[in-house]
């Protein structure tokens, strides 16, 4: 579910989010509920395994809204108590009483956008909070969602040195729970930060430094007991994000809210084909569409078998498990993973060079290969297309 509102836009952000003076929460809530029901019915999904409240800043919504959506989902499909329900939160809207409210509404996992524990860096990123506030938020969350709190961290900021990153890592490791999402800052076109770098006001971090920071972080996290289970995600004691795993395993998922994305088979319409769907990005337009016809789907495209396999490959290789033979077989019972990539060709060359592994479990990247996955994918896609 997308809650597309923020109090301000961070300097690096290019998400589908809006800063508005006032939000008609009741209206948005009603539309989220309505669309969720419509799409659940359309997909004919029996059981929901995870719910993720993203955005924007979902912690700005009231617990009442969260509760309403979850109730609606539970009414239209089976929502077991064991389902993972995650809420993304900003440290500036996560005091204990609020978090308690969310827990009461049904949230059982929290993802906090810490980004950095250095005040200067936070200012550079345009974040609303201080490092001290972030610490307090994480501690409060860990109290209410023990073992189920995740923090987001960023590296590769303009001007960041190896040392300052090392310090930041250490501080984060001391604070975090059992899940860390670690992102290299990407300078997206149209953001304030990108403009500053382009103008020369801020330095562009050198490629080698970024590579080093990533390696340092991976190594440190693994040493601290984390499993590096996806390019940017680390978990210990089994605290993986089930919801995100469903993206990378190309499971079915329904996107609700402005700009949300989905992948499912609209069995309710009699279809047996997996579709890629996007909801209308602009909140006002989206609400009108939901009010008119029950959902605000901007586009839906049937994915061909090739396209589904391409997605499965691209996403699956981001995880340490890679693409298993079973998962591949679910989409392509006729043409096995072995038949495509086990024959002489690009995959074999990449294996020989030490970037990939194809064995009895499936196809996955090596430790080194994961860091350069985007250099491997075009070759593999070529091979798959043939």
């Amino acid at each position: 579910l997308q809650w597309p509102y923020c109090r301000k836009r961070c300097s690096y952000c290019n998400f589908n989010t809006y800063v508005v003076p006032a939000v008609d929460e009741a209206a948005v809530r009603a539309c989220l509920v309505r669309e969720a029901l419509t799409l659940l019915r359309l997909s004919q999904v029996h059981s929901v395994t995870s719910v993720f409240f993203g955005g924007g800043t979902p912690s700005l919504a009231s617990p009442r809204t969260i509760a309403a959506v979850l109730e609606a989902v539970a009414g239209a499909a089976h929502l077991p108590a064991s389902a993972e329900v995650t809420l993304e939160a900003n440290p500036s809207s996560t005091d204990t009483s609020r978090l308690t409210g969310f827990r009461g509404a049904g949230v059982n996992r929290l993802s906090i956008g810490v980004q950095s524990l250095d005040d200067a860096e936070l200012r550079l990123l345009g974040r609303e909070h201080t490092a001290a506030e972030a610490r307090k938020a994480v501690e409060a969350a860990r109290g209410l969602f023990p073992g189920r709190t995740s923090i987001d961290l960023m590296f590769g900021l303009p001007g960041q040195s190896r040392d300052s990153w090392a310090q930041g890592l250490e501080a984060a490791l001391g604070l975090c729970d059992d899940h860390v999402s670690l992102y290299q800052l990407t300078l997206e076109r149209g953001t304030a930060l990108a403009a500053q770098v382009r103008r020369g006001t801020l330095p562009l971090p050198p490629q080698d430094l970024l590579a080093d920071m990533y390696q340092t972080a991976r190594t440190a996290l693994v040493a601290a007991g984390f499993r590096h289970y996806e390019v940017s995600n680390f978990a210990r004691k089994g605290a993986l994000s089930n919801h995100n795993l469903s993206y990378w395993r190309a499971d079915q998922y329904i996107g609700v809210g402005p700009g949300a994305h989905g992948r499912f088979v609209p069995q309710g319409e009699g279809s047996c084909s997996r579709e890629a769907r996007v909801q209308t990005p602009e909140p006002v337009a989206w609400m009108q569409e939901v009010q008119r016809q029950g959902h605000g789907t901007r586009s839906w495209v049937v994915l061909s078998l090739l396209e589904q396999l391409e997605e499965l490959l691209t996403l699956g290789l981001r995880t340490d498990e890679g693409v298993t033979h079973e998962r591949w077989g679910h989409f392509s019972p006729q043409l096995s993973l072995q038949a495509v990539f086990g024959v002489p060709g690009e995959a074999r060359a990449l294996q020989e060079q030490g970037w990939l592994l194809l064995d009895s479990s499936g196809l996955r990247c090596t430790w080194a290969g994961l860091a350069v996955l985007d250099s491997l994918l075009p070759d593999l896609l070529c091979q798959l297309q043939r």
Binding site: F15, N16, Y183, Q184, L185, T186, Q207, D208, L210, A211, Y214, V231, S232, N244, Y247, W248, Y253, G255, G259, A260, H261, G262, A276, V278, E307, E310, E311, T314, L315, R318, Q353, W355, L370, A371, V372, L373, D374, S375, L377, P378, D379, L381, C382, Q385
Partner: protein
Amino acid sequence: QEKLDMSMYPVESIRNFSIIAHVDHGKSTLADRLLEITGTISKTDRNKQVLDKLQVERERGITVKAQSASLFYNHEGINYLLNLIDTPGHVDFSYEVSRSLSACQGVILVVDANEGIQAQTVANFYLAFEAQLSIIPVINKIDLKNADPERVEKQIEKLFDIPTDECIRISAKQGTNVEKVLEKVIEKIPPPQCNTADPLKALVFDSTFDHYRGVVANVALFGGEIAKGNKIVSAHTKKRYEVSEVGILTPNEQPTHKLYAGQVGYLIAGMKEVTEAQIGDTLFLYKQPVEPLPGFKSAKPMVFAGMYPVDQTEYNNLKSALERLTLNDSSVTVHRDSSLALGAGWRLGFLGLLHMEVFNQRLEQEYNMSVILTAPTVPYKAVLSSAKLIKEYGKDEITIINPAQFPDKFSVSEYLEPTVLGTIVTPHEYIGKIIALCQDRRAVQKDMLYIDENRVMLKYLFPLNEIVLDFYDALKSLSSGYASFDYEDAGYQAADLIKMDILLNGNPVEELSTIIHNDKAYATGKLLCERLKEAIPRQLFEIAIQAAIGKKIIARETLKAYRKNVVAKCYGGDITRRMKLLKRQAESKRLMRKIGNVEVPKDAFIRVLKRETDK
């Protein structure tokens, strides 16, 4: 349609003249005015560069193809036939200019009242002087604020030895004194010395291709007469034709019964290609051969460029566009060529850089084709010493157009490079910088003299290679536009040439081999390596980019391997975008050329080889 009777104009009433000038001094505007005054065209505001028919000519304000116009003018009771032969105004076309002049008995030399004598003023003057033509100096643009006709008259006197009182001060734009020019033409320029009783002798000074009627040849008659039905022969090709139409240009074609000695017009005789009516050729009657007019030469290209379609699927379209464009331009030489990187294409020879640019522009405007032009090269030569190669080529001196043909130094007794004699006219404050620029281009000074208190004329012998790319631009920019440049072919000189290869991880990239002078090897090698580094994407291993002469490495750049290349976030909303990008990358992988283990995108070669466009 009534045909004109040209017998009304005896030789004494004919004046054949041309207008010569430096670029932008007002040649075409003066031509417009003359056409208006003589009633050849009606006087309206819209008469601008009437004789420049090509779009590219009108846009660039230059004349590319020579046109002629016959004007009728009554002066003191006598009807005169004044044949104006408009000439190309650029150094690249000096051969055309010289042929046009050989059809004239006099010229109007136009000089801008503010700019004064420029490099082409000088060059054109000498052409006219050597052809022993009467010269009428005209100082134009006197209406402009900075005009200083007195100063210019003094320059003319000093440089050309023409008394100041012979100059006519005009404003072609406003029409001031233009009538006086016409009168001077009649008074000072002698009529042609020829006789209608002689056998036919016609000079071809231009030709165009008309889809319906075939080749239309512009001719000047040096003797005899010509009419429909005559059988004529080309002195150069020895082919025979029957004349189907003759006429004059006013400036549009107007058929006449006949053309007589001393007159200028056109003829159509069943020729299918413009190469059958080459500029400078002589036409005579069948069974009545004459001594061909002197000065004919086959077009000699000075600058070569590779031309390739942007994509091989466009090959046939480009092929037919080239065929049609060269129908009307016999001075472009065309050879098929192919490059491993760019596919099948051509190596074209042009008379000069402007010729090449105009050609390219016409391709874009008239045929809607955009092409890849590789850096211009010049025709080097080698004097072979290897018996084997001499036998293979059938001669001991060969012209090398493609680097792949470069014979190594053990098979050669001497390498030769083409040279030109360049004339630069500049205000004296830029002399130092210009001398430094010329020295940088391996030029040798041949002459230097002051043409007036402020300006100097410099003559340098340049290797052609050093000026084909950007010499003119560099000259203009360091003289704030005030220096002018003109050049002429000056034969070949011995040169220390080498073939430079570009290597990727030790493997040579054939498409990027170049022939250059040893002195310039390092600088060029470094530039190519740098450009190539920018044009190749990083790969999973380090790439050494090197420039080499034989086995010796002279320059190097390193492209480091990717150590991290994976997008940070890939959740629901990112997936579609990601897939699009990756699929595009997979597509372009297919079009990549693999050199050793290095993947090189097709446009990398284009980026490295392309002429640097004007910045």
